[in-house]
């Protein structure tokens, strides 16, 4: 058992994966000597050398494109995209190549590439540094998409992602990088695509992932004081979704709120709402509601507290499910 920040847990997970398998490579901008701008790869360059921890030229399409080539040659590249907003230059390689090549080869080619993306806002950054681009990737078949919300999951899930034979888009909640928790490294990890009930409750299901899990847990604590019991589910896996867990919870509570930082318009919450409505229609007391970012670009940071769904906005959505 050790107490780790989320960033350090990822760092330890990467280290363990590199020790386990010499084919695992770290690639990205400033991941070497600097240890990444969030220090997630800190110390790996020193211990594994520049042949395993590669400071790449400044080109995201190049990072993913060459990672694909390395994977074709039997390597397991773990690519760091420095900030969410900078994954877009690599979108072509991810969407047209990484996601589709295994299928085109009738399964003969495997692309065990992990794309790590620090995501979300709340750190007072300038534009392009606070985006939540997950829906672009969940919309792309062939990619597995996951998001960790806490240090223990970060430690285990990054290793699962690296062991996975399919490409994995791995979202890291950047405003939670410095949050600490106890990590049991020896514990048996939940399968990567399973969600988890982060806090059991009876009145309403609140679905969240990544940075919003903590917000929703705080909302649940606040709601409990007013006698309302929220069941918070940490989705962990965004594609595929752990629909069994989601449906089970909603059938129990009869109400459902989905929270994410990304704009609600065409966001992951829309997909979840549709599926919950189809599968749990007769159990629902109210429509599935969403608390999320507005249908606008991410605002200047002095307005991000307005943009990001906070505890009050989550509770407001919860209240509205009781108003039906």
């Amino acid at each position: 058992m050790s107490t780790l920040t989320l960033a350090k847990a990822l760092n330890d997970g990467l280290r363990a994966a590199m020790e386990d398998d010499p084919k695992v490579l770290i690639m990205g901008e400033d991941v070497g000597k600097l240890g990444g701008v969030f220090r997630v790869t800190d110390g790996l360059y020193k211990d594994f050398g520049d042949s395993r921890v590669i400071d790449t030229p400044l080109a995201e399409s190049g990072i993913i494109g060459t990672a694909i080539g390395l994977a074709l040659r039997g390597y397991r590249p773990v690519c760091e995209i420095q900030f969410d907003g900078f994954v877009f230059p690599a979108a072509d390689q991810i969407i047209t190549q990484l996601a589709k090549m295994p299928l085109r080869s009738l399964g003969k080619l495997r692309l065990p590439v992990v794309v790590r993306i620090p995501c979300g806002g709340g750190i007072g950054a300038v534009e392009h540094h606070s985006e939540s681009p997950e829906a672009y990737f969940t919309h792309t078949a062939g990619l597995r998409v996951v998001a960790c919300s806490n240090p223990a999951d970060a430690y285990h899930m990054i290793q699962q992602a690296i062991r996975c034979e399919d490409p994995v888009i791995f979202f890291e909640p950047k405003r939670r990088y410095w949050d600490k928790a106890v990590v049991d490294k020896a514990a048996e990890a939940l399968p990567m695509h399973r969600g988890v009930v982060a806090r059991p409750g009876t009145d309403v299901t609140v679905l969240a992932y990544g940075p919003m899990v903590k917000t929703c847990l705080e909302a649940a604590t606040a709601a409990a004081e007013e006698g309302r019991s929220l069941e918070v589910v940490d989705l962990r896996s965004l594609s595929p979704l752990d629909t069994d867990l989601i449906f089970e919870s909603v059938r129990k509570t009869g109400r459902c709120v989905v929270a994410h930082e990304a704009p609600v318009n065409s966001g992951l919450g829309a997909e979840i709402a549709a599926r919950v409505t189809e599968a749990c229609f007769y159990n629902l007391e109210a429509p599935v509601l969403r608390a999320g970012g507005f249908s606008t670009p991410y605002p200047p940071s002095r307005l991000e507290d307005d943009y990001l769904p906070d505890l009050d906005r989550v509770l407001d959505a919860v209240d509205r499910t009781f108003a039906f």
């Binding site: 701008v37 790449t56 507005f294």
Partner: protein, 365 residues
């Protein structure tokens, strides 16, 4: 494996320099410049004032008034020299570090701070200054500058565009595509690359095995390396490249060889990846000191002049600070503005809902 005999056998890079680090004026066969004492004093003043604005911004960040700041320390000559080569009709496309070019374009320094303070995404109207908004996504703006130049060409205007980018940016696909477009369309654009030796923690060797200016020849246009800490040389070389562009001779790549004397941004810690002696060596090539030395020697500036510029810089620093602190936070509902030319019904509904939601807190809670 055969060895490529030409590798490493190329001539060493040539550096256009008109003013040595010691402040000696030197001749260059291809580039010269005739500057009046008045013009030299004006350049010196520019250099000192933008350094002062930059210093103030770093201090404001340290005090929590800005979220982050990208310092131009060490790059003043590259920016002032190239910026002062522009005519009003020319159009400049910056990265996030071109505070000196902004100054030359008449952008109020305090307006540069908004983006870094988090109150806006860019605090000036590009059309007022022919100075585009800052671009944070590395390399994107190079294509915009080329397209803009293609427009200038179509319009038959007597103008050119100039685009700023860093050494790291040269690796981006967009930048290489911009080179191709500019070449194929013979666009009136100047590519001004400030090679400050670092892309955050990555030294130039991580991006290129050849001097950057030599990349141009492969794309079919001239490239030149200029001493980026020499304001005279930067002015002369950029002026010539802009003139060539306006006269239909197509693009030029200028590599301004300089040094990022500060951290990448205020969030960065350069001690993790570079040695202090490197900075010490570059301090001897400081872009401002050499002009001052030259001015003293040639009696273009006396102590009274330098004191007056310093006093003006101090006033400017105070003024920028004061007006930065006065910058109001935007109102929450501004989030919904300017997303489209006119708001659509869905967005208007979201805005109204949020306004109603905010109203529930008023006076209560």
């Amino acid at each position: 494996m055969t060895v490529d005999a030409s590798r490493g056998a190329e001539a060493p890079p040539e550096l256009v320099q008109l003013l040595t680090p010691e402040g000696e004026r030197v001749e260059h066969p291809a580039y010269d410049i005739d500057l009046s004492p008045e013009e030299i004093r004006a350049l010196y003043r520019d250099l000192v004032l933008v350094r002062r604005v930059d210093m103030e911004a770093v201090a404001l960040q340290r005090q929590g008034e800005l979220g982050i700041w990208a310092s131009l320390l060490g790059q003043e000559a590259a920016q002032i020299g190239s910026g002062r080569a522009l005519t009003d009709a020319d159009m400049a496309f910056p990265t996030y570090r071109e505070h000196g070019v902004a100054w030359c374009r008449g952008v109020d320094p305090v307006n540069l701070l908004g983006l870094f303070r988090g109150v806006n995404h860019g605090g000036w109207d590009p059309a007022d200054h022919n100075f585009h908004l800052y671009t944070i996504v590395i390399g994107s703006q190079t294509l915009h500058a080329v397209g803009y130049a293609m427009g200038i060409q179509r319009d038959g205007a007597d103008a050119a565009s100039i685009v700023y980018f860093g050494d790291g940016a040269t690796s981006q696909g967009d930048v290489n595509e911009a080179f191709i477009w500019a070449s194929v369309f013979n666009a009136p654009v100047v590519f001004f690359c400030q090679n400050n030796q670092w892309a955050i923690s990555e030294p130039l060797e991580k991006q290129s095995k050849i001097p950057l200016y030599r990349r141009a020849s492969g794309f079919g246009f001239p490239g030149v390396r200029v001493d980026g800490n020499d304001v005279f040389a930067c002015l002369a070389v950029t002026r010539q490249a802009l003139k060539n562009a306006r006269e239909g001779q197509g693009p030029t790549l200028i590599e301004a060889f300089t040094y990022r004397m500060g951290a990448h941004t205020t969030s960065d810690d350069p001690t993790r990846y570079r040695v202090a002696t490197e900075l010490e060596a570059w301090k001897l090539k400081d872009p401002i000191e050499r002009v001052k030395a030259y001015m003293f020697k040639s009696q273009i500036g006396d102590q009274d002049f330098f004191d007056a510029v310093d006093a003006e810089a101090a006033d400017l620093g105070r003024d920028v600070r004061k007006r930065c602190l006065e910058m109001p936070d935007p109102a929450p509902l501004e989030i919904f503005e300017h997303v489209y030319v006119e708001p659509n019904a869905m967005l208007a509904e979201e805005r109204d809902q949020y306004a109603a939601y905010l109203a529930t807190f008023e006076g209560g809670e």
